[in-house]
Amino acid sequence: MSSDSAVAKRPQPQPAPQSDVVIETHNLTKVYRDFWGRQKVRALKALDLEVRRGEIFGLLGPNGSGKTTTIKLLLGLLFPTSGRALVFGQDASDVSKNERIGYLPEESYLYKFLNAEETLDFYARLFNIPAAERKERVNRLISEVKLDWARRRQLKEYSKGMTRRIGLAQALINDPDLILLDEPTTGLDPMGSREMKDTILRLRDEGKTVLLCSHLLPDIQDVCDRIAILHSGELKELGRIDTLLTLQDETQFRAKGLTKAAEDEIRQVIEKHGGTLVGMDHPTTTLEDLFLSIVRESEAHPGRRAHERMEPR
């Protein structure tokens, strides 16, 4: 038997059946070991996460921060060193959960000797899909990812972006309830990455749950409802993206159609409080700024959560 057995730890009380929580991790830790069982890397340290049905959840972090490791643990590709990962309330090592999961790996690891049609047909056969529907789905997905023109070409002739597209189609072949996307937009052209983001939003609108990880901040900012920021295996930030990016200690006003008198009145109120009106709003920072500040902070004080704030529900 290999180092970590496929099984989880002790059985734990299952969450309520109608729970909205799709992904749950408790104290999830992964230590990569070498052949002799010596510790190499602590890739993930005591991660606690919860992803709810119907949301787009982003995992954010610099290279090597443990994003891919987290996804692999959720899929049962890796066995946790300690802690546990639950998907649909079942342990991550339980294969039956895969019926409802779609996964797009970091790079598209597909069989190069198959063509697009055969690839999707093969993956479809791994699910219980009737033959007619299988055919229909394969055709629909090929046109959705805009590969009609290359459907009969072997994947070894595909460009990186094309492989990425067929990888996405493969992840959606079973009409999954939960989609895990590892850096979905890498290798895609601007149109492609726009389409990818549209697809992600559409999936959310269809009521599916999406977990994606990326270090491309604009992507995350565009689509995610909630994010978690990881840095060297530790959770640094977790929350709704709009809340996270709002600077609560600044207010910005901007108004239209006010009379001169009304403006003077407002200015007086501000002056009475000792301020100067610039506009009126809560300005948002960019995700980039937030991200960089968290990373810098955590490099300066390793092990400390950047901003200890309550996670808004």
Partner: protein, 615 residues
């Protein structure tokens, strides 16, 4: 070719003990395997956690994965495997196969006495080795390649169970190899048949009318010789209607016919037909053998003449010592004219005598009817050592009357065969010479079985071997990298081939000792039967013997578990020696293979299941 003792068993006789062994072996092995896993697991994470981990793996295997197993997914993986093989490597092996056959014609010795054997063993061995190599490289490559290229991520994140992955791979490779072997079989069949084909003409020189039997009669026919073709010529005889056969050379004969109304002295009038008799599947019927000692009392074995490796037992000439075979299921319908016997003897001479003519022997046929145990007059024969002799016992035999004064004629089947049973007694007829015999040395030749089906059985034997190689390859590749998996499979196959030799080494039946002792003997150039010595250093001898014993114990245990490859390859040997491979043996081999496939697949499942594929 020697028939092995276990091959005499019928399916029913074999099945009982086999299933008993199975019922004992399976739980013991399963328990050992689980215990081994527990030890590994406990070493990693402590006994309690380790026990819990092993228990959960087994529980999910039986409780979750087994009920969820799906043929659809297994076949999807199998289809993928077939496609992968086709689009990658397999074609190359075809090319190699074709090339070998293209050039083989030049290297096969057409002057051989038994070209059929040569051709058959050539195609069967070539196919076996080619197929083993192919099976080895195909089966060990797939899963490690999937893990290396990480395509496995997209497979195991679908609802594919580890068992389906392993079985799907096995099915796929077996399908590929089946098609390959079928094609190779057809090519080989025509290669062999074509290889036997040749034509002869008639030489004008030897053509002559046969001398009449009695003075004044007409000539009973004509005789002549054929032209030299394929390194041999025949002589032939035809009767007065112009029909006859050639003699048997290089294992075959030809039909000879003279065209109607032609001049018998014209060589062109004779036509020599296509060869026949070379490609056959002889069906020996073996009897139950027992011995009588020189006083005529039953005995376990004959005399040992001091040859250690001899599997035959000896009987002394000019005494009552006999070897008796009891045959069953004989019916006159199968043998309308004579009872054909095949006899192979070894002779042990205490004096040289007349070395050219050989030692005389007698055969007596005796009824098994206890109320009327009549026997025929002895039929004499001259032994030819170690060579298959074909004797035809005529239906009409003679029997001495009770007072010994007169003889009467009896019919073999009507008078001697009792309820299909018959005893055949062999004695040596030269004083102080000995005959050596074993059970397979005397048999009745039943009518030949169809050669084509026998040839196919040879290929089915190869096919079964391939299936096991594929299973081993896939199983090893679930936890080893390709090169290591190849080594592992090769080791398992070799151990399977030499399993019985290892067994003999262990029990001391074979000489020379274990690997360390053998190495020392090799370096010292010691004889294998002299005791091992290092001068006066006795402890050294003990140490060497002990280490060898430990090694052999491990290897023996392994070889007891591994499939018996030499047994699986027996079909080829039977075919190459023109013997019909028993359907019963084939059925046994199929069943055994099935059991091994199941066992190996289960082991593969557990390795795959507990493997952290992304690590």
């Amino acid at each position: 070719m020697e028939i092995r003792p276990e091959e005499f068993l019928t399916f029913a006789e074999w099945f009982g003990p086999a299933i008993k062994y199975f019922i004992i072996a399976v739980p013991v092995l399963t328990f050992l395997a689980i215990f081994g896993c527990f030890l590994v697991s406990a070493a990693r994470r402590g006994p309690v956690e380790g026990f819990y981990a092993v228990a959960t793996v087994i529980a999910t295997a039986i409780g979750k994965d087994l009920p969820a197993a799906s043929l659809r997914r297994t076949l999807a993986i199998a289809r993928l495997t077939v496609k992968e093989s086709i689009r990658r490597r397999v074609i190359v092996s075809f090319v190699i196969f074709a090339l070998i056959f293209l050039f083989a014609g030049w290297f096969l010795d057409r002057k051989s006495d038994d070209p059929a054997h040569l051709y058959l063993s050539f195609v069967l061995t070539t196919t076996t080795y080619l197929a083993i190599v192919l099976a080895l490289f195909l089966s060990t490559a797939s899963i490690p390649a999937d893990i290396k290229s990480r395509t496995i991520y997209t497979i195991v994140t679908k609802p594919v169970r580890a068992g389906e992955l392993v079985l799907g791979r096995i099915f796929g490779f077996v399908a590929v190899i089946t098609v390959l072997l079928a094609v190779m079989g057809v090519i080989s069949y025509f290669f062999v048949v074509r290889g036997m084909e040749h034509e002869h003409g008639v030489l004008p020189e030897g053509l002559a009318a046969l001398a009449p039997v009695a003075e004044g009669d007409a000539s009973p026919g004509w005789e002549g010789t054929t032209t030299m073709n394929s390194y041999h010529r025949h002589s032939w005889k035809v009767d007065d209607t112009g029909r006859g056969t050639t003699d048997k050379i290089m294992g075959h004969q030809h039909q000879v016919t003279r065209s109607q109304d032609a001049d018998p002295s014209d060589p062109v009038a004779y036509e020599i037909g296509a060869p026949y008799g070379a490609l056959v599947a002889r069906v020996p019927i073996y009897g139950q053998m027992r011995f009588l000692d020189s006083e005529g009392n039953p005995t376990q074995k004959g005399i040992s003449v001091g040859k250690e490796w001899e599997y035959r037992s000896y009987i002394e000439g000019r005494t009552l010592a006999s070897a008796i075979w009891r045959f069953q299921g004989l019916s006159d319908r199968d043998y309308p004219e004579y009872l054909p016997l095949g006899l192979t003897l070894s002779v042990f001479r205490t004096y040289k005598g007349d070395i050219v003519t050989g030692v005389r022997g007698i055969i007596i046929l005796k009824s098994t009817d206890p109320r009327n145990p009549i026997q025929c007059e002895p039929i004499g024969f001259i032994s030819r050592e170690y060579e298959l002799q074909q004797l035809h016992i005529p239906r009409k035999l003679r029997m001495e009357s009770a007072d010994g004064a007169s003889q009467r004629e009896i019919d073999l089947f009507a008078d001697l065969v009792h309820e299909g049973e018959l005893d055949i007694i062999v004695r040596c007829d030269d004083a102080v010479q000995y005959f050596g015999m074993a059970q397979a040395d005397l048999y009745i030749e039943a009518p030949d079985a169809p050669f084509g089906w026998n040839f196919a059985k040879g290929y089915i034997g190869i096919w079964l071997q391939m299936i096991i190689v594929v299973c081993l390859g896939v199983m090893f590749s679930t936890f080893l990298s390709t090169p290591v998996a190849i080594l592992g499979t090769m080791f398992a196959v070799l151990l399977g081939f030499f399993g019985s030799f290892v067994q003999d080494l262990w029990t001391g039946k074979a000489w020379g000792g274990g690997p360390i002792e053998a190495l020392i003997r090799l370096v010292n150039q010691d004889n294998v039967v002299t005791p091992l010595q290092f001068g006066n250093f006795e402890l050294g001898v003990h140490i060497v013997k002990f280490m060898d014993k430990v090694y052999l114990t491990i290897v023996r245990a392994l070889s007891g578990v591994l499939p018996d490859f030499s047994g699986l390859g027996r079909a080829s040997e039977y075919v190459a020696y023109s013997f019909n491979y028993y359907d019963q043996l084939l059925a046994r081999q199929c069943l055994t293979t099935f059991v091994y496939v199941t066992a190996i697949a289960i082991v593969g499942y557990f390795f795959m299941r507990t493997r952290e594929v992304a690590a």
